[in-house]
């Protein structure tokens, strides 16, 4: 079984805390790995393990990705993940504050599986996170790696 199931790429520690809290409140106890910028995320996914091979065993069940990230932004992470046959099947849920149409178009063009605008209202935020967990962790079936 995969040790990391939810990969959360988010630079804002408060958003991290709220997202983790919302997942836990919805009774998702799945292990969460938080990466604080795009470079860290790419390093985590494509970095080399101790045997010198890419550390693909670290691939999560679902990747929650913020768009605006330091160093390497979310769109670049998305592009790399979706262009690599080893990571292409990981569902990527873009979780962002941006309602801008061009972000929506761009991320779907790059292959995002879902685009969620983080609501300001925490109850709505809880519901959104709950639905993300339900769908991608429980309902959605993925091909066996």
């Amino acid at each position: 079984m995969n040790p990391v199931e939810i990969m959360l790429v988010e630079d804002n520690p408060d958003d991290v805390e709220l997202t983790v809290r919302a997942l836990r409140k919805s009774n998702f106890t799945n292990p969460i790995r938080v990466l604080r910028d795009g470079a860290e995320a790419l390093d985590y996914l494509f970095g080399t393990g101790t045997d010198g091979k890419p550390n693909m065993s670290a691939a999560p069940v679902v990747l929650l990705l913020d768009l605006k990230l330091p160093k390497v932004n979310g769109a670049e992470v998305l592009q790399k993940v979706k262009n690599d046959p080893r990571t292409r099947t990981i569902p990527v849920v873009v979780l962002t504050s941006s309602r801008e149409e061009r972000d929506l178009h761009e991320t779907y063009k790059l292959g995002a599986n879902s685009y969620i605008v983080k609501p300001v209202d925490f109850e709505q935020f809880n519901r959104a996170v709950n639905q993300i967990g339900m769908y991608w962790l429980l309902i959605n079936q993925q091909p066996a790696g």
Binding site: N12, D14, D15, L18, R21, K25, L67, K68, T96, S97, S98, R99, E100, E101, K118, P119, V120, D121, F122, E123, F125
Partner: protein, 273 residues
């Protein structure tokens, strides 16, 4: 004699041609200059528009995050320590949350507004009669079972952006529904008249109206003529309607009096030159 006259005529003609040539040259120089100025103005405008875009992006993304934290952590406090909180403490936290949500709504409106200004116009022939019927059907929810008499008069077709024109009717009808909430026998009339060769669309209600002394503020963003506890709203609807009308080259105006209702009139085309 005729030869002399002919010579004079030719000389005069040459003078005129030389003069015209000179004028033409001057015009060309002026034109080139104004072309350059126009280019510069266009560049400035593009820069300003790009700046506005990045500004809205900042508002959308960077200002929402702290707001979410304020609401989220207030909520976490209520969830985790609700039992230990004095009722007054819980009430104060509720006020914090209500305000953060309100600010979120204001930001969404502001963003929607700036997006509207950037959105390109796609004009086609529209049928306002069908638009108005749809707006009323879809808006039935906002009337919340109230008994409102809608009277729809003649609404001739025109050339306009269908989505944006729908928005204008929706804002004005929504406005009328809102401000007739306290009027017994609410009545909303939607119709049109011909004026100076243009179709003027009219939305009139018998609602709470307003004092014409404040009419100048009516179409400003976030401007409100009523207290929040009397009528809710963010004060963007009429600002949006006005910007859409202006983008079509039209005009929008209003006549009202306190407790006498309000009449909004607008055109979706410019004056004939």
């Amino acid at each position: 004699m005729t030869l002399v006259l002919a010579l004079i005529a030719v000389a005069a003609l040459i003078c005129v041609i030389l003069f015209l040539g000179h004028q033409l040259q001057r015009l060309r120089v002026a034109l080139a200059l104004s072309d350059a100025r126009l280019d510069r103005a266009l560049q400035d405008m593009r820069a300003a528009s790009a700046e506005l875009e990045s500004f809205s992006y900042t508002v959308a993304h960077d200002l929402r995050a702290p707001l979410r934290a304020i609401d989220g952590f207030s909520r976490a406090l209520i969830e985790d320590f609700g039992g230990e909180l004095e009722p007054e403490a819980a009430r104060l936290l509720g006020t914090v949350r209500r305000n953060s949500m309100r600010m979120g709504a204001l930001m969404d409106d502001l963003l929607g507004f700036s997006r509207l200004l950037r959105q390109p116009l796609h004009k086609s022939r529209i049928e306002p009669a069908a638009i108005v019927r749809r707006v009323i059907e879809e808006g039935a929810g906002m009337a919340q079972g109230r008994d409102i008499a809608f009277a729809i008069g003649a609404l001739p077709p025109c050339e306009a952006d269908p989505a944006l024109a729908t928005r204008v009717f929706a804002e004005l009808i929504g406005n009328a529904v809102k401000f007739t909430a306290k009027a017994p026998g609410a009545r909303i009339e939607i119709g049109s008249r011909e004026q100076d060769g243009r179709t003027v669309y009219v939305v009139a209600d018998n609602g709470t109206g307003f004092d014409m002394a404040f009419a100048g503020k009516l179409f400003g963003v976030f401007q409100r003529l009523h207290r929040a506890e009397d009528f809710d709203g963010n004060g963007v609807g009429l600002a949006i309607a006005q910007r859409i009308v202006h983008r079509h080259g039209g005009e929008i105006w209003t006549e009202a009096a306190p407790d006498q209702g309000a009449i909004f009139s607008f055109t979706l085309e410019g004056r004939a030159p």
